[in-house]
Amino acid sequence: MHRFKGKNISYIFILLILLGGVMLLAASMGAVSIPLTATLRIVASKIFDIRISLDEGTINTYETILFKVRFARVVLAVFVGIALSVSGVVYQGIFKNPMADPYIIGVSSGAALGATIAAIIFKGLGVLGFSLVPVFAFIGATTTVFFVYNLARTGTKVPVATLLLAGVAIGALLHAATSFVMVFGTKDLHFIIFWLMGGFSSKNWDHVMVMLPFLVVGLPLIFYFSRDLNLLLLGEERAQQLGIEAERIKKILIVVASLLAASAVAVSGIIGFVGLIVPHMVRLVTGPDHRFLIPCSALFGASFVVFSDLLARTLMAPTEIPLGVITALFGAPFFIYLLKRSKRGLF
């Protein structure tokens, strides 16, 4: 029985190498192209404190580009990829629904409204040099989830079907509200539309630091409940019969996954498809055991977002394609392919 565990651990190892490779590639490519070997050496020199046999000037330029610009962007892409994929895994597990993703219960529509309000009504305002957009987006996302959650709650229980329907209804309402606010700021529409499509342009280490605490707290918490998530897949009642406090764990997981997704949306806008397809793709290989599905999805999701961002920056350089467009362009056909191929169903 244990050969399966061994196989899964080797998946994690392969995915780690994949992520490292994609990160190096993404850091090296761009308007100024840095040789892969140089990037490797600079990273190695920082870690192991070795001297590099390149001339000083080039190194300094490369270091500046890498550490001031590229690495921040790459690390942020990693964080956002992890947050969206892991919350996608959690949502699909709890909802036992293949169409569930972090946006289904209002994270995206709430964030969109918040961002639009910040950009159009409070434009130019900022807190400690920070734009109000991510702050409002985060507030919008979490408030919406809170609202949807309470709307769906009946007594002490939160039925899954009601939660999905409430999310869809509130989402439609918020989309309308967002469109309405846009009427007042035709000048800022360009910014809003780009924000809504998601991306990492002009993002820096501050954004990385904003997301860090959410990941540091959220990921271990979700992993802590990974075995319970397996049992929840059998249905809440069955999980309860097997000694799992289904209702309590479901509530904790919904809150944590939503905060994780909200933090990602706040810094990067709405990047579609990652939370939906990454868990599916990984599940096809690892199977549904969350103890492996969660780490594998995190690693693969991170690689996927880093790679998509690389394409977004370089395909039509110097014009940057919105990241959400790339993830959808690559994600949707692949998802359809999976749908057609797997005759046994989506799980």
Binding site: M1, F4, K96, G155, Y224, R227, N230, L231, L233, L234, G235, E237, R238, Q240, Q241, L242, G243, I244, E245, G287, P288, D289, R344, G345, L346, F347
Partner: protein, 419 residues
Amino acid sequence: MLRLEDVYCGYGDGKEIIKGVSFNVEKGDFVGIVGPNGCGKSTLIKGVSGVLRSKGKVLLEGKNIREMSIKQIAKKLAIVPQNFRTEFGFTVYEIVSMGRAPYLKRFRAETSKDICATENAMRSTDTLRFAESKINELSGGEAQRVVIAQAIAQEPKILILDEPTSHLDINYQLEIMELVKKLNEDGLTVLMVIHDLNLAAAYCKRLIILKDGLVLDDGPIDSVLTDDNILKSFGVDVLVHRNPLTGKKYITSVPKPSVLRDKIKGRIHVICGSGAGTPIMYGLRDMGYLVSAGVLNVLDTDEEVAEKFGIEVVSEAPFSSISDDAFKLNLDMIKGVDFVVLANIPIGEGNIKNLFAAEKAIEMGKIVVILEETPIKERDYTGGKAAGLINNLYRQGAVSAKDNGDVFKIIGSMSECQN
């Protein structure tokens, strides 16, 4: 082991489904809970397992389950749900090992004890051979075995099954029941909600009948499974027999009368025995005739059925030849009827007087219908005497019928002519 004291239980909308149920399940017992849909069987199980809140006391090994954590309950009491299906492609081994959930510590892998319990559970349910198969690719019967294995992996003191066979074909039904029986014989206490009364009668040691959230009757199968109790709980008329192979009770349903009659069409006397007359008596009664029968031995199948339907019978002591008294009584009864039907019965020295009665009936001017599905020669145990009598009857105008339907047709058309 498991004791319920005045338990009330419902879905929190103020309406109680279970309205004060008390019973006690002893260690090693095999108890079936039966009752019509909506009587609260499944609700009761949810209350017992702590999934639903209940009023009153549910004591598990003397401890109130409300003072136990859900994990503690899961270590002593395992549930097998009605229909276990999951879309997710867990392997059978993974599913069964989930039964160890109440024993596992956070962030720790399964110990050798957990692995042992999982494999033992699979061995005792014969699921080890598809350990690596995906649960969502198994047949319904196989999946049900797997979920029983999952419950066994919990190493419970009591196994509670909620209609484990209701979605299965008959071969799987029996397979699952045999499995549960084996587990019970190995010492596991079993409480099973079951909708198939015959399976319940064949496998359970004790039966609890629920009706409208209350216990209607509770006791050994033989004392509880009566037509009276089933009429009271399910509202249907049944016949309770014994399986000739096992001696266990089983029931068959009695169809509702096809037409309501307010007028008796005529009177018919049926000469029968050992079950041959049952469909004739039932069919003629259903057509609206007033039926009588005789002479029958007490405890004969036909006699029991006649009794059940209130058909007047001339009876004789069990395994005895027809006495002159019974013969006379039979003739008295034949005097009042329009038709006499002679069922397809074997004739021996013990019941040859019934042929004399048929002869007398013809003399009295009654129409005698002889059902001859098998030629009389093959069921004549009187050395040709009976065959001779039958031939005589034909000569005197008795009508021959080749099956039950023929009997009904002949009598139907003849009684129309009479009117």
